[in-house]
Amino acid sequence: MDKAFDMAKDALENGEVPVGCLLVYNDDIIGKGRNEVNQTKNATRHAELVALDELRDWCEVRNVEVKTVCERTVLYVTVEPCIMCAAALRLFNIPVVVYGCNNDRFGGCGSVLDISSADLPQTGTMFKCVAGHRAEEAVEMLKTFYKQENPNAPNPKTRKQ
């Protein structure tokens, strides 16, 4: 989890939403990621999706099946995965997710919707959540970020509707 927080700090220093995560398989880190939405101009580049791509590369290099590895992999992430990432984790068959604070804006493990245990037979497998690990620290980082506000997002006050 320390490492996930380092990733989140790196995101913060680079003007990204401070979320960091690790994928751990047999005590090995086989994927890590931090938010890179602004860098790629792709709103789906959340830490979890970045890490899942690293996991795929790891499997490819070793010529092992992604699904077999994922079924024994745990995700550690500083903030509750959003609805999109929760669906992605299901599609990758990740069984356990350990996270820090709740994600009140987009949370997909209960805060807005519970995708982790929803009945979606065509969207992969359900996963178990372990919440609250170093939650306060994760909240503080998010607060710092939203205080600076995202420089790439349009100013909501001047945006015409």
Partner: protein, 318 residues
């Protein structure tokens, strides 16, 4: 990089076989809910305004602020006006005859403010209510949402998505296609087909989103091996839009949770899809575009070129 597409002849357009259907939030398409309350006839006309004032003090009608306090009765009634006194279960032993009112009787009243014309009509039949119309929803329910000519455009864009789906299918991929359009310039920004057999998350909409990012100088993946996936930079405005702000997505099948939330994160303007999907998140299992607590909402229409899209779905399962 811009994908070459043959222009469709007008004779190809089968516009009568489908109509776009707005996917509205449950709030907008459900029936009006009713609760019971107590009302009374006004026997002494001159006391009406005092009676209303006193009742407002005594029984403020919490949560029912949309209801009018007084209603006119139909011709042939012994009294001209009736007032709403209090919710059915609110206790009171007050003698309302002191306000010039007759015996209390039970009425059913709408429990929430109506948002659409049909809801308003139903609600008013029970008790008069204020009405702040959701114009888009009312127009959608009347089937009058789009001006003439709009359907041809929808058909044109959806046909491109269908073509892309077929390109993918030829490569052994799932027959699902999507295009991202800038409706102001009528420019197709990105065209994509499903690639989930190559990468579990590369659903058509996800590929489209990354291709839009590429058109803006970003992006994460290369799709060179797929001739059906491509983009063209927007030549409309000097200022690039933020993510997919202002863009419309046409996709042959209803997006899943992953894709629907990705579209929401991307601030898409509207989504048009053909067929519904069992795990679909824009109408079937969830209505993410109308979900409370989320920071962006967008409009969704289904059944666009539904016949063409259904053919794709069926060909996939062969």
């Amino acid at each position: 990089m811009e994908p070459q597409r043959k222009r469709l002849k007008t004779s190809d357009l089968d516009l009568d076989s489908w109509d776009p259907v707005a996917v509205l939030s449950d709030q907008l398409c459900t029936d009006v809910e009713l609760v019971q309350a107590l009302a009374a006839p006004v026997l002494d006309h001159r006391q009406t305004s005092r009676a209303v004032q006193e009742l407002r003090q005594m029984h403020p009608l919490r949560g029912l602020a949309h209801l009018k306090r007084v209603r006119r009765t139909g011709a042939g009634s012994a009294h001209a006006l009736e007032v709403l006194v209090r919710p059915l279960h609110e206790p009171s032993d007050y003698d309302y005859s002191r306000l010039g009112l007759g015996d209390l009787f039970v009425v059913t009243v709408p429990s929430t403010a109506p948002l659409t014309r049909p809801q308003f009509d139903t609600a008013s039949a029970h008790w008069p209510t204020s009405f702040h119309e959701d114009k888009m929803a009312s127009a959608a329910l009347r089937g009058e949402l789009f001006p003439a000519g709009q359907k041809e455009k929808m058909h044109r864009y959806m046909s491109l998505a269908v073509e892309a789906a077929k390109d993918g299918q030829k490569l052994g991929l799932d027959a699902i296609g999507a295009v991202m359009v800038d409706p102001d310039s009528e420019q197709v920004i990105a065209t994509a087909h499903d690639c989930r057999r190559k990468h579990p998350l590369h659903h058509a909409a996800m590929v489209c989103i990354d291709l839009v990012a590429k058109s803006q100088g970003g992006g994460r993946y290369g799709y060179e091996e797929f001739s059906g996936c491509g983009f063209s930079a927007s030549h409309w405005s000097a200022v690039q839009p933020y993510l997919c702000t202002g863009y419309d997505l046409y996709v042959t099948r209803e997006p899943c949770v992953l894709c629907a939330m990705a579209l929401l994160h991307s601030r898409v303007r509207r989504v048009f899809y053909g067929t519904a999907a069992a795990d679909g998140a824009l109408g079937s299992t969830f209505k993410l575009h109308a979900q409370r607590d989320l920071n962006h909402r967008f409009e969704v229409f289904k059944d666009v070129c539904v016949g063409l899209c259904r053919e794709l779905d069926q060909s996939r399962s062969l």
